[in-house]
Every structure is written in structure tokens, then in C-alpha cells.
């Protein structure tokens, strides 16, 4: 902190040291790039974790919060804010420093209309083209359909016979004559067609409906023969606007939405959100509740990894490749265990502020131990099977290699990053709950290829089983819920909380303005970063390898389009 102040006198407007892991600073917009460069080069802040836009409408300001941290050199997270006026907002882009700032800034631009100077491709990412220019996440966005008048999108039959739903300018805007000017940019299709250089190249669509996609997203490949020359990615097909919805729900209601972001990781999403709100409320859950949370988080990690690996294997060898079915059978046991605690199979909505909803059922440990033992044997069998399959290793080895440097630069986290020899795990970097008391190791691999990513996942299952077994041994008796008032109204403030999702670094940034509802919720999801890293990874691969690479990332579209 003081280093920044001495290096850039006068440009740090505000600062707050929350703990030894969180640093909040507000800097001068003019000096943003210089300070970031200083932090990156001199202070090892080599991981651009995300960025959030905040509409401070009462102060007539926009805030852009850049979340910077390091891949293991230290554990400080810098939340660096810049404030710009609301009319003609413009911030200097960080894409020159961090490659992966690209998508985060695009999202802020399309949602808030904050221009990023020097951004190479400021095109909409999540929004449909019709909505660009309305800046829907601004606090003064009226919404369409309008909740007061009930007007809806207008049906129009296009020249090719397809029905389209157009969103017309808001009637009040037309009346007042302030219809905003729509930004001009080449559409996705124009952008990709501009890349076709010769007759031997063509664009092949994979998605939005295709066997490889885990949810609807569009992966367009510019191919020549069987070689991919360039890949284009379009997401946003199922964008739900969860961050905006949560602004309009009370804190407790918000938990339900975190489930729906990714059904395989609903417990960890709950955990991340509740943890952030707990920081705002300044409470810590009782120890028994912490253990229950850890047990559930690890169970959900195992089942997510099993399904991810199984799905990935079907991508390699058609749906007839048998291990998939066996993984689903094994996963069923775990889902049954989770159901016995939470009462739900996938959308648990289980974690509460300052505790959990239910206690463990009677005899849970006796029920869980044999299942975990069997799970461990089966996982070792899978690892053995995949390792000894010559066709599998031939297909996977050396495919989609991410060198440690590239993996860090592209901003991926979780198993893909750890497979690239970077022991970066939120459970170690930003310890929460009772993780510091537990013994586990961070699984890494040197190779960084698709095979290594799958190996990391399978071995993490073993580590998670080890963690759960320790929890079952150590879990104390006691209460499971802190006493809280019925209406949860945190003091004005903000908190950023990270957990290790099955897929990587999941962070929730929650701002409170003292009311019953959060002022702003920002989700930093791991799959968002994977997806961004996918196009450069696919360049030069064979079409068949696209499947292997994309599958080995274990993506979840629902979370990207949250």
C-alpha cells in the first residue's frame, strides 16, 4: 500500500486495509494503467481476476472495480476502484497489461456503457444486438417489458420468414426525444467472415446446439481441411441477468439464484455468496456449521468432477464409451448423500448466513464412510483405466497444451491451471471455513495438456474424499446457526469472498447500501475465464481435438451466462 503511495504520490484517493488479504484502494482514473503496471511488474500481481462495474447513481458516478491478485507469490487481493462521471464515462483499458481483461471490460461496456479507451474489440458479449445501447444494468434502466406499462418486445417477421422479437425504444424515451444512439460495430457474423482469406477455408459451426456444448454457446471454427485456423466464441444465449435480479431481491432470496448459476456447483456458489454477506454482517458461522459446509462443498466437488470427466469421455468416444455410465452410477451415491443432508439433489439452497439450514442426519458418518471408500476404489480404477488405454493416451497427450505462463496469462483457474504446474487453489490462497485445520494437498501436473487436466480432476476426487473423512472424524457437536435478526440489513460496505469452485476460482463481490437488498452483486465465475481462453487454445488443433480440448476444460455455460 505504502509502496503505491510513494510511487504515485497523490493518485491514490482513498484506501482501506481490510485484512492481510484484502486491500481496497480508489485511484485516479488518469493513473490507472500506470499503477496497474507497477503492481503487475513490481508487486507480482500477475492475476487479473475480474472487474465489476458499479452504478453509483446517487453520487452521479460510475465505479469500475478491478480485482487483482497473484498466482501464489502472495495472497493479497487488491480491489482497485476508479470513479468516472456518469455522462460520457470512459476508463482506460487494461487489455494491454492483462490479456483476459478483454471480456470483463466488454461486459461492463455493454451493461453500463462505460467506454474503455484502447480496447481492441469493444463488441457486445452477452447481450443480444437489439439490447446494446440501453445499458441495462444501470440503475435508471426502466426495463423492457416495462413493469409499469407491461409493454413487451415486438414480433416482426423478417425477410427470410423467421420471426424475430425486436425491442423498440422505450415509449417515454421517444416522447422525450432522447432515444439513445445505438453504438455501431460489426456483428459477430461479419467479424468472423472477414477472417476468411481463401476458398479452401470455411466456417464450421459448433453450437449453439451441438453435441460438444454443455449448454448453448456458439463456437465457430475457421477450418482448412481438418485444421482449425481460428476459433470464435459467442456466449450469452441463456443470459439470465442473475446479478441484476439479485439487486432486486432481499439478501436471503438471493441464495436461490446462486444455485441456478451452475447446478453442479450450487453448494460452492451458495457458499461464496453467503460468505460475502457474512463478511458484510461481520459474523462467523459456528464450527459445526463450518464443517458441514466443507463436507458438502467437497461432496459437490466430487460429483461435479465425476460428471465432468464422464461427459468428457463420451465426447471422445461417442456415447457408447462405457465409463460414463459407471461414473453416473457412482455419482448417484454421492447425490444421495447430499440429498440426505439438504433434501435436494442439485439445487440445494442450503447454506445460510451464519450457518446452514439443516444439521447432518443421524448416522450420516456411518452411511458416508462405506460410500467414500467405494468411491476411492472406483476413482483409482478409473485413473488406472484411462492411464492404460493406449488409444486414450494417444488422443489426449500433448493436446491443447497450456504452458504455465500461458495458463496464468489467460487467467484460467482451477484444474486447468493446476494441470499447468501452478498450485493455485482458493482453499490455500484464501482459506475459509475450517480448511486451514484440514490436511490436503493441491494436486498439480506438469504437462498442461488435456490428459493432465483430467488426471488432476480425478486425483482431486481422492483429495476431497480425504478431506471429508477428516471432517467426519473431527466434526464437533454444537449449534449450526448464528442468531440473526429476521430482516437482514448489513451495514453499508462491501466485501469480496472467494471459494474454490469445482471448476476454479469463484468470487462474489457484494455491495450493501444498508437496505434489505444488495446494492450490487458481482460474480467472478471460473468458467467465464475458461471460455475466454478457449479460442486461442483451439488454434492449430484438429477438429477432433477441438472436442477433446473443449471437453477437458469442463465448461458450464449456465455460469458464463449468469
Amino acid at each position: 500500500m505504502s509502496a503505491i503511495q510513494s510511487a504515485f504520490p497523490g493518485s491514490v484517493l482513498e484506501s482501506r486495509v481490510e485484512s492481510d488479504r484484502r486491500l481496497w484502494i480508489t485511484v485516479d482514473p488518469k493513473k490507472l494503467v500506470e499503477i496497474t503496471q507497477f503492481l503487475r511488474d513490481k508487486k507480482d500481481f500477475d492475476h487479473y481476476s475480474g472487474a465489476a462495474g458499479v452504478d453509483r447513481i446517487n453520487e452521479n458516478l460510475f465505479e469500475v472495480v478491478e480485482i487483482l491478485t497473484s498466482h501464489g507469490a502472495h495472497q493479497v487481493v487488491v480491489m482497485m476502484k476508479v470513479r468516472v462521471p456518469r455522462d460520457k464515462p470512459s476508463v482506460r483499458s487494461l487489455t494491454g497489461l492483462y490479456w483476459n481483461a478483454n471480456w470483463y471490460e466488454r461486459e461492463i461496456w455493454e451493461m453500463y456503457g462505460i467506454n474503455f479507451e484502447g480496447h481492441p474489440e469493444l463488441y457486445p458479449l452477452l447481450l443480444p444486438d437489439e439490447l446494446v445501447g440501453y445499458w441495462p444494468w444501470r440503475k435508471d434502466f426502466k426495463g423492457y417489458p416495462d413493469t409499469t406499462t407491461g409493454e413487451r418486445a415486438i414480433e416482426q417477421v423478417g425477410p427470410d420468414g423467421y420471426t424475430e422479437f425486436k425491442i423498440m425504444p422505450h415509449p417515454e424515451m421517444i416522447k422525450a426525444g432522447v432515444v439513445p444512439e445505438r453504438p455501431k460495430y460489426p456483428t459477430f457474423r461479419e467479424r468472423e467472415e472477414a477472417e476468411i482469406k481463401s476458398d479452401s477455408e470455411m466456417i464450421m459451426h459448433m453450437g449453439p446446439q451441438h453435441a460438444i456444448v454443455p449448454g448453448p454457446f456458439l463456437l465457430d471454427l475457421l477450418i482448412e481441411g481438418e485444421r482449425v485456423k481460428k476459433a470464435f466464441l459467442d456466449v450469452g444465449y441463456i443470459h439470465k441477468g442473475i446479478e441484476k435480479i439479485m439487486e432486486n431481491r432481499t439478501y436471503l432470496q438471493g441464495i436461490v439464484y446462486t444455485d441456478r448459476m451452475c447446478y453442479l456447483a450450487s453448494i460452492t456458489n451458495n457458499e461464496a455468496y453467503c460468505g460475502a454477506v457474512e463478511r458484510l454482517l461481520n459474523i462467523t458461522p459456528p464450527e459445526r456449521a463450518q464443517y458441514i459446509r466443507v463436507i458438502l462443498a467437497e461432496l459437490s466437488r466430487i460429483q461435479s468432477h465425476l460428471l465432468g470427466t464422464g461427459e468428457f469421455l463420451t465426447l471422445l468416444g461417442a456415447a457408447t464409451y462405457s465409463p460414463f455410465q459407471y461414473m453416473i452410477i457412482d455419482r448417484e451415491d454421492l447425490v444421495y448423500l447430499m440429498e440426505s443432508i439438504t433434501g435436494a439433489r442439485i439445487t440445494h439452497t442450503f447454506v445460510r448466513f451464519g450457518g446452514v439450514r439443516n444439521d447432518l442426519p443421524d448416522g450420516f458418518a456411518d452411511k458416508a464412510r462405506p460410500i467414500l471408500k467405494r468411491m476411492r476404489e472406483r476413482t483409482e480404477e478409473y485413473m488406472d483405466l484411462l492411464h492404460s488405454d493406449p488409444i486414450y493416451t494417444r488422443r489426449m497427450r500433448g493436446i491443447g497444451v497450456l504452458s504455465p505462463g500461458d495458463a496464468r496469462r489467460l487467467g484460467v483457474s482451477g484444474p486447468p491451471l493446476r494441470a499447468s504446474d501452478t498450485p493455485y487453489d482458493m482453499r490455500r490462497e484464501d482459506p475459509i471455513l475450517v480448511y486451514p485445520d484440514l490436511d490436503f494437498k493441491v494436486v498439480t501436473r506438469k504437462a498442461g495438456d488435456a490428459e493432465a487436466r483430467v488426471e488432476v480432476r480425478l486425483e482431486e476426487i481422492l483429495e476431497s474424499i480425504h478431506i471429508i473423512e477428516q471432517c467426519l472424524d473431527q466434526i464437533p457437536e454444537g449449534p449450526i446457526q448464528e442468531k440473526l435478526p429476521k430482516k437482514i440489513k448489513p451495514e453499508p460496505g462491501e466485501a469480496y469472498y472467494r471459494v474454490e469452485d469445482p471448476r476454479g476460482e469463484m468470487g462474489f463481490y457484494v455491495i450493501s447500501d444498508g437496505s434489505e437488498k444488495p446494492y450490487r452483486v458481482k460474480v467472478r465465475g471460473p468458467v467465464y475465464a475458461y471460455m475466454q481462453a478457449l479460442p486461442p487454445l483451439l488454434e492449430g488443433a484438429y477438429v477432433a481435438d477441438v472436442v477433446a480440448i473443449a471437453g477437458s476444460m469442463d465448461a458450464c455455460t449456465s455460469e458464463v451466462d449468469r
Binding site: H210, A211, T314, L315, G317, S322, Y326, D389, I391, D545
Partner: protein, 350 residues
């Protein structure tokens, strides 16, 4: 025995009226063949769905036609026949329409020359073959390659990128594996001193799978490749190119393309049994002496089929460049080594 008298009478008549005999046997044979291979292929499909279900810890068809799902295929066939027949707007119509037909014709052509077992009458095996020609092994090989043309027609005429890629892959793969497959057949013919499938079977006092193990392995791999089954189903890899060259086909046209794959699988298994596993040869079984070659033959074919299904359930798919690599760099040299071995052994011991 009265059976042998019937045979003698028929042979005498055939010697008198060779042209009428050929016409009659052709017509009857064609009818029987189409019935046998289609019903056989249905049985193969059923077997695959059921056995694959077992491998994958699920049930497979178990509703239509008792708990064994025996009528499931009939229901599927009715569904395919009654579906709307649609042709994509941009398709090359005649080529599109003819591709599945040519695929079916190919399978018929192959089936005509293949002996479907034999009957043992008075200690002599009478093979059940329609066209017993001198070069039937060679002919079957050649007719099988016509499939490549059907695949190309289907992929090219659909006017679809996935179909096109699938057709390219299919052709690259088939060319790479037809050659070693043919060389293996030549090696067998060298040992048997004949290209006639019936004579090849009869000359197998020792199964050729043991006499030339290398050739057996190469031929089996090439056969799986030729059938386009996992791990060599790149031409219709669902996860990469939707359904390859069959992407734009629907209804009964797709049904024909799909069905000929299973007919080919049946014929391929039979060919493997004939060339390498001693065909219908086996000791006589008391009480059903006449049918005993049939029993041995079907048992061997069933084992080969189950092997093929097992492979599908337990392996992942190769990448197309790895397939062609394997074909040209390993299978072809190995098949040539096998040819040299067969020539050497055939010269000194046979």
C-alpha cells in the same frame, strides 16, 4: 439318404439345362439372400443394443415385445418408413437419392458371393452360396469398396459442411485400409491355392488365424475400420461432425444407410470367419449331423459379432490422422510381411 438323391437329380437337371438352372438359382437365391441378410442385420442391431446395454449397466430395449425388446426393431422400422421424406433445399437431388440405394446394392452384391454356412450330407459339405465363382474372395473385396462411393455421394450431395467432412474422412480411412485388407486376402489365397471362398474354407485344416496370426490381426483391424465402427467411426463422429455423411438424411433414407452398416457388419464377420476361422468346419454333432456345419458357423459369427460390439463399448475414437497413419505406416507393412510369410509357408508346407 433321400437328400443326396435330390441333389443328384438337381445336378443332372442342371447339366442338361444350365441357363434355366442359373436363372432359377439366381432368383431364388436373391430372394433368400435379401431375407437372410436383412433379418440377420436386424438380429445384429438387436444384439448390439442389448449387449451394449449390458456393458454400460443399463437395460437396452425392454418394452416392445416382452422384456427382451424383441419387437423394438420392428417398431423402429415402422417409424422410419412413416417419417416425412425430406430433401434439403440445397442438395444435389439425384445423387442424394441414389446414395442410400447404391449402399444397399453394394451389400447385396457382396452377399451374393458369400457362403452362408453349409449343410453336411453323407459326410460332404454343401455350401449355401448363390454365386459360387472362382474369384469370390477378390470379388467380395472389390464389391465392398463400392461403399466408398456411396459414402462420398451421400456426403457430397447433402450440401452440408459436416457431411462433407464426414465423407472426406470416410474416404481417407477406407482407402488407407482397403489396401492392407486386400493384401491379407491375397495371403490367404496363397495358402489356400484358391480365390474361391468355399475352397478357402475347405483347405483350412489348420485355421488361418493360427497359420498366419499377423494377417488375422491386420485383417480384423482393417475390417473394423472398413465397417466404420468405434474406434474407427470418424466419418460419423457424433461429437465432432453431428452425424458425418448421414447428417442430412432422414426417415427411410437414413434407415437404409444405417441398416447397410449393420448388414456390412454381419457380412464382415462372416468374411472373417470364412477366411481365418475355418468357416463351417467342425466335428459332426450327433442327431443334427446335417445342420452341424451351420451350428459351428453361426457360433463363430456370433463370437465375432460380440467381439465387435465389445470393442465399441470399451474404446475411444482415434483421430483421423492417427487412423491414416496407422493404416499406411503399420497395417500395410505388416500385411506385406504377412504376405511373405504366407508365401514361404505355402511354398514349403501346403
Amino acid at each position: 439318404m433321400y437328400l443326396s438323391t435330390i441333389i443328384e437329380a438337381v445336378s443332372a437337371w442342371a447339366a442338361q439345362e444350365p441357363k434355366i438352372y442359373a436363372l432359377a438359382i439366381g432368383l431364388i437365391g436373391a430372394a433368400i439372400i435379401s431375407a437372410v441378410i436383412n433379418i440377420g442385420a436386424m438380429a445384429v442391431v438387436w444384439l448390439e443394443r442389448k449387449f451394449l446395454g449390458d456393458i454400460q449397466a443399463r437395460f437396452g430395449p425392454n418394452r416392445v415385445g416382452s422384456r427382451w425388446g424383441l419387437l423394438q426393431l420392428g417398431a423402429d422400422a415402422i417409424k422410419l418408413f412413416t417419417k416425412e421424406d425430406s430433401i434439403p433445399r440445397g442438395a444435389d437431388k439425384p445423387v442424394y437419392v441414389w446414395a442410400p440405394i447404391i449402399a444397399s446394392i453394394t451389400t447385396m452384391l457382396v452377399a451374393a458371393a458369400i457362403p452362408f454356412g453349409a449343410l453336411r450330407i453323407d459326410g460332404k459339405d454343401y455350401p449355401l452360396v448363390v454365386a459360387n465363382m472362382d474369384i469370390s474372395a477378390f470379388y467380395v473385396e472389390a464389391a465392398l469398396s463400392i461403399m466408398t462411393i456411396a459414402v462420398f455421394m451421400a456426403g457430397f450431395s447433402s450440401n452440408n459442411k459436416y457431411s462433407m467432412l464426414g465423407a472426406f474422412r470416410g474416404i481417407a480411412r477406407m482407402i488407407a485400409y482397403e489396401v492392407p485388407m486386400g493384401v491379407c486376402v491375397i495371403a490367404v489365397a496363397l495358402m489356400a491355392h484358391s480365390l474361391n471362398l468355399v475352397e478357402i474354407v475347405e483347405s483350412q485344416t489348420l485355421w488361418y488365424a493360427f497359420a498366419q496370426p499377423l494377417g488375422f490381426i491386420v485383417f480384423t483391424i482393417a475390417l473394423v475400420t472398413d465397417l466404420g465402427r468405434i474406434p474407427f467411426d470418424q466419418s460419423e463422429a457424433e461429437e465432432e461432425i453431428i452425424a458425418g455423411y448421414t447428417t442430412e438424411y432422414g426417415g427411410i433414407r437414413w434407415g437404409l444407410l444405417y441398416f447397410q452398416e449393420y448388414i456390412n457388419m454381419l457380412l464382415g464377420s462372416i468374411l472373417l470367419v470364412l477366411l481365418f476361422l475355418g468357416g463351417w468346419k467342425g466335428p459332426s454333432i450327433p442327431l443334427i449331423t446335417v445342420l452341424s456345419p451351420m451350428v459351428w458357423f453361426l457360433m463363430k459369427v456370433l463370437i465375432v459379432l460380440i467381439f465387435l460390439i465389445w470393442v465399441r463399448g470399451s474404446l475411444v475414437r482415434f483421430r483421423i490422422d492417427q487412423v491414416t497413419d496407422l493404416g499406411w505406416k503399420w497395417m500395410l507393412p505388416l500385411s506385406l510381411v504377412n504376405l511373405a510369410w504366407a508365401a514361404f509357408v505355402g511354398l514349403y508346407f501346403a
